[in-house]
Amino acid sequence: MQAAMNENKSLSPFNRSLVKMRRARAAQNMPQAGFLHQEVAARLLERLDDINRSFDTAFALGWDAAEHPLPAEHAFYADLAANRAQAMPGPAVACDEEVLPIAENSLSLLLSNLSLHWVNDLPGTLIQINRALKPDGFFLAAMLGGETLSDLRRALLDAELAICGGVRPRLSPMAEVRDLGGLLQRAGFAMPVADAETIPVSYADPLALMRDLRAMGETNAVHDRQKTMWRRDVLLEACRLYCDRHSNAEGRILAHFQVLFLTGWAPGPNQPRPKQPGSAKARLADALGTKEMQVKGSRRPD
């Protein structure tokens, strides 16, 4: 039984009920602590603006940005925490990104604002999102990436290593931009694109940054995390290291949030598609006005 439980944990690094609890608790701190969510919501809408398309049915996961309503005829909002869902600017549901309660072929747009980095089975969630979209439906998501707060992670790691002689799993794993394009493709999205933006934020000191993370509900939700508080001496040493390394002229520290943007389309009839290999009607050499040469050892296609 214990072995089975451990196996289950290794497949699911994140404790979803803890994520839900954190999101619910953080609701009272929004919108003050929600500046990152607001900023990312604005950037998502900006990207949506670039797409010359109107959407009839839109669904947003973890939206939490009352001043940024979705541009759609029917806009629905969702959050893992029921109290957050109830505070949305329109009709909303509480739902788990890992098991989406959305019928196949029902949405023309699905957005996610910083709600996918705590999902255990991201490929499974992406497949469910693809199925929920109508043909030619659009998926646009922002999630925190692996470079997020790398300076803070480094300072905590160095401090713990120096004082305790070892480190414990306190920091959650995050996705890298290079993995996400392939993941979108595997989930069946057409024209998948993944890119990253970095949002710098300045704080009075590292403790203010950590207080903010807690207020946002974005502290570690890994199953096997170290559940006790940081040792005071480790924390102070980490703060000292961080300030030494990253203070600016005004004595404030800089923190960097890496936001990964994912876009993809549900396959549709009139989308551009790559041609079959060998279906070309003209030679590249002619177009370039050069002479075709055979590479030594290669075979010329018939």
Binding site: K20, A82, A103
Partner: protein, 64 residues
């Protein structure tokens, strides 16, 4: 009906399915629940917001 203010958006009702089985849901307006017969679960609706979370759903009795 007194529930009108908190009534669930009809278009939203149209696109919601059971999160586990992806089957259609039965809307129990009197008890404000969305019922998945396949999964044997009743999802509560609070203030017009369906709570589609398995750990907050009510397990159906055999006779329901």
């Amino acid at each position: 009906m007194t529930l009108e203010k908190d009534d669930i958006d009809p278009k939203l009702l149209e696109i919601l399915v059971c999160p586990l089985t992806k089957s259609t849901l039965r809307y129990d307006r009197a008890n404000q629940e969305l019922i998945s017969d396949d999964a044997g679960l009743a999802f509560p609706i609070r203030d017009g917001v369906p709570i589609m979370l398995v750990d907050e759903a009510r397990r159906l009795d055999a006779q329901e």
